[in-house]
């Protein structure tokens, strides 16, 4: 009698085992336990162009004293599939980390070897790869950039001529960017670790870069400094977009307006701008 029962029992157990094994793969759960968290830093980087200065496409040696920029709505995202800034301005994500408030920073702060500017830090964020970021350049309510989203203050020199410039931008922009493209991979937060994401600003898009071929797209699409030099009064430029629109040639103003949409990057990675 026992043998008769044993055989069907083994058979049933085998079948049940296979069924359960098949079902077990569906959960994919990591089980219980404390949630893994880390720290995410938000940096802003004007690159060596701002920290060290550079020569514009038309031969002006440009040095910045201050580059004030006002940032708001800074948010990093984990996106899967990864966000593609070439296709849309909407970042679809279930995991996002933001910095509250408005932040006016000086991208030119520090010496030529200074690190990118730390805008803020978010603690106890979910681990994973923050592979997208968005932010807005808005008019600062107060402080060094009050009334403007960007203020560039510096000196340009060429052939013994020196021009002190203050160029202020009152327009506002919203940048949506994918993953950072550069020497290292950023935004990967591990349990107990610290990672960073970066908002990068390419000022060579405005003035061009003598180190790059003149027919390079970077230079052909940049106003350069000559249009600004042409409107200097007694070696001084102090204008915002409103006054530049009246002083610059229409084509030069339009090129400047267009390049400001391309100012925001993530390393060398491009952004969608509205």
């Amino acid at each position: 009698m026992r043998k008769r029962i044993l055989v069907p029992v083994i058979t049933v157990l085998l079948v049940a085992g296979i069924a359960l094994a098949g079902c077990s793969g569906e959960s994919g759960s990591n089980g219980g336990g404390a949630e893994a968290t880390g720290t995410l830093q938000f940096h802003a980087n004007g690159e060596d162009f701002v920290r060290e200065g550079f020569v514009s496409k038309d031969g002006w040696s440009i040095a910045f004293d201050h580059v004030y920029i006002n940032l708001e709505g800074i948010t990093a995202y984990q996106t899967d599939p990864p966000y593609d800034p070439h296709s849309t301005g909407t970042i679809d994500s279930d995991i996002e980390v933001g910095l509250d408030g408005s932040h006016t920073i000086d991208l030119a702060a520090g010496d030529a070897d200074a690190d990118p500017i730390l805008v803020g830090t978010a603690d106890n964020v979910e681990t994973g790869h923050y592979n997208a970021i968005s932010w807005e350049m808005t008019k600062a309510a107060s402080g060094s950039a009050a009334g403007y989203s960007l203020v560039m203050i510096g000196t340009a020199e060429k052939d013994g001529q020196a021009i002190d410039f203050t160029v202020s931008i009152e327009e506002e922009y919203g940048y949506s960017c994918g993953e950072y493209v550069g020497d290292e991979r950023k935004g990967i937060v591990e349990d107990g670790g610290t990672a960073d994401v970066e908002m990068t600003f390419h000022f060579d898009h405005i003035f061009g870069d003598a180190a790059v071929a003149l027919d390079d797209e970077l230079n052909t699409g940049a106003p350069g400094f000559d249009p600004f030099a042409a409107i200097a009064e007694e070696g001084v430029i102090d204008d915002d977009m409103s006054s530049l629109q009246t002083k610059l040639a229409a084509d030069d103003y339009q090129i400047l307006a267009d390049t400001l949409f391309t100012l925001g990057h993530v390393g060398e990675g491009h952004c969608h701008c509205e």
Binding site: P8, V15, P81
Partner: protein, 152 residues
Amino acid sequence: MGKKWISIIASLCLASVFAILCLPAEAYAHGAEIEYAFNTSIEIVAKYDSGEPMSGAQVTVYAPSDPATPWLTGVCDDEGRFAFTPDASDAGTWDVQVRLAGHGDIVHIPIGEDTVAAGGSSGYSVLQIVLMSICVIWGLIGTALYVSRRRA
């Protein structure tokens, strides 16, 4: 052991194996796709916005299992092309970054993600394979006993 039980055992075992093979789970339905993807090299073509190829651009490939560490580095050829064969066991999104003289971009290539949960090239877990093997053996034993009993 009764003839009836041996017959039932053999039938159940065969039915179980058959049922597993015929399960409509997505993992199995996509098995052929995985193999195809894994056996195919990926070729990228990197160009500037102007359409000019990024000849000589630095290429960095990241595997899904270790996204922080380059899995492979290389250089685009004169036509901006670069080819590599991803690790067949590492399903997920492979990321390929291309950079040259201040220009750069990254492309995300999903490879066999639908089969990650199933794991392995066959699409079955180790536990499933072991149980299936035991079941088949059990069925063979039962069949052998049935045949030997009939002869006796």
